[in-house]
Amino acid sequence: MNYTFEFAQVFAAWDELAYGALRTLWLSAASMAIGLVVAVLGALAKNNGPRALRIAIDAYIELIRNTPFLVQIFIVFFGLPAIGIRLEADQAALLAMVINVGAYGIEIIRAGIESIHHGQIEAGRALGLKPLQIFRLVVLKPAIQAIYPSLTSQFILLMLNSSVCSAIAAAELTAAANDIQARNFRSFEVYFVVTGIYFAMSLLFWGIFAVIERAFLRQPAVR
């Protein structure tokens, strides 16, 4: 093995890497937030909407879950202009990620709704809880407890998946890596460091989510 590692050239571009990492975080947080709104609306419509709407939502979920994210992002970025919707790469990346996480989110939210039984609400009423207390303690908290693990792992999955957005040159961490290695040709070093940054971000969020769960969501009496 007579390969000389040149990590210095990667760290020289630390500002680009930091900016890329921030963009990745922003893209993930924004698409998660908007995606959750889509997911809640979708879950409500799937549970209570008219038949045609329910079928449309099922089709949406199945189409997204059974096609690669890369193809979805190509359709949004390259395909939509054909029907008159032209988006910047960053906008297309955000839209594709929202569409993607929305489909996975609907099933998560539905599981949360289903975890609340009507009898528990009646029991809360029988105990003399006020409506707001019932919503907070009997409906919201157990529902969040039920979906917290899948929701948080979905977020980390989404963050890692956002690297695919580099395929349309949206500004995020992997695209920053592509730019840097196109300049200095230190492909291995650049991608190795960037993979490390992604891993550090995953560890950070695993840690934060575990702390939040321990602080607010542990409730031994549940189930």
């Binding site: 093995m1 096609t67 690669p68 193809v71 695919v164 992997t174």
Partner: protein, 218 residues
């Protein structure tokens, strides 16, 4: 500019075999590695348990795209030249080993402890216990999530296009660059993935429901 005709459709659809072949190779490689990871993780040797845990976390905590890109560039450090096909097959196999390993560890640990104790009392050693008593029960539990992961893996092969392997998605890009009909082409490609993946998803879900009903009755 070329027009988008039957020849172009055929070129794209012919690339499906590379998507399927890569999926099969990665699933086979991932199964071999996954068995090792699962046995290490569910075993009683602390150091091996820890190594398997770290392996799983690294693959769960980094983007698959970066895993494939590194699978492409790491051999170069050792002076080896790998083509995109080998890099994708190796990268996806290692990736699948981690995820299948974690799924199968779960399946092994769901088998009640009493099964280990009873088979141990009958005088069976570890490998005989695993082969005759534990694995047959664990496999039943593991099938639905493993098929579910196979769907993930088939979709994941699309990322091999980024390191230059010409499978379904890359073939579509090639044709799109020549004909510029992105909506039709990527729509067709999406539909092709859907036709491959959806039956597997439906099967996995049905098996899961059946298993849940069976364990609710027991």
């Amino acid at each position: 500019m070329r027009s988008f005709g039957p020849n172009e459709v055929f070129y794209i659809l012919a690339a499906v075999r590379w998507t399927l072949l890569l999926s099969i190779v990665a699933f086979a490689g991932g199964s071999l590695g996954g068995v090792v990871v699962a046995l290490m993780r569910a075993g009683s040797i602390r150091a091996l348990r820890w190594i398997a845990f770290a392996y799983i976390k690294i693959f769960q905590g980094t983007p698959l795209l970066m895993q494939l890109v590194l699978a492409f560039f790491i051999p170069g450090i050792f002076g080896l030249d790998v083509d995109p096909w080998a890099a994708a097959a190796i990268g996806l196999s290692l990736h699948a080993s981690a995820f299948l390993g974690e799924i199968w560890r779960g399946a092994i640990e769901v088998v009640p402890r009493g099964q280990w104790e009873a088979s141990g009392a009958l005088g069976l050693r570890y490998w005989a216990q695993m082969r005759l008593v534990i694995a047959p029960q664990a496999i039943r539990i593991a099938i639905p999530p493993s098929v579910g992961f196979l769907v993930q893996l088939i979709k994941a092969t699309s990322l091999a296009s980024i390191i230059g392997f010409v499978e379904l998605t890359r073939a579509a890009q090639v044709i799109n660059n020549a004909t510029f009909q992105p909506f039709t082409i990527f729509g067709l490609v999406g539909l092709t993935y859907f036709i491959i993946c959806w039956p597997l998803s439906a099967y996995s879900r049905r098996m899961e429901r059946r298993l849940a009903e069976a364990s609710a009755r027991a």
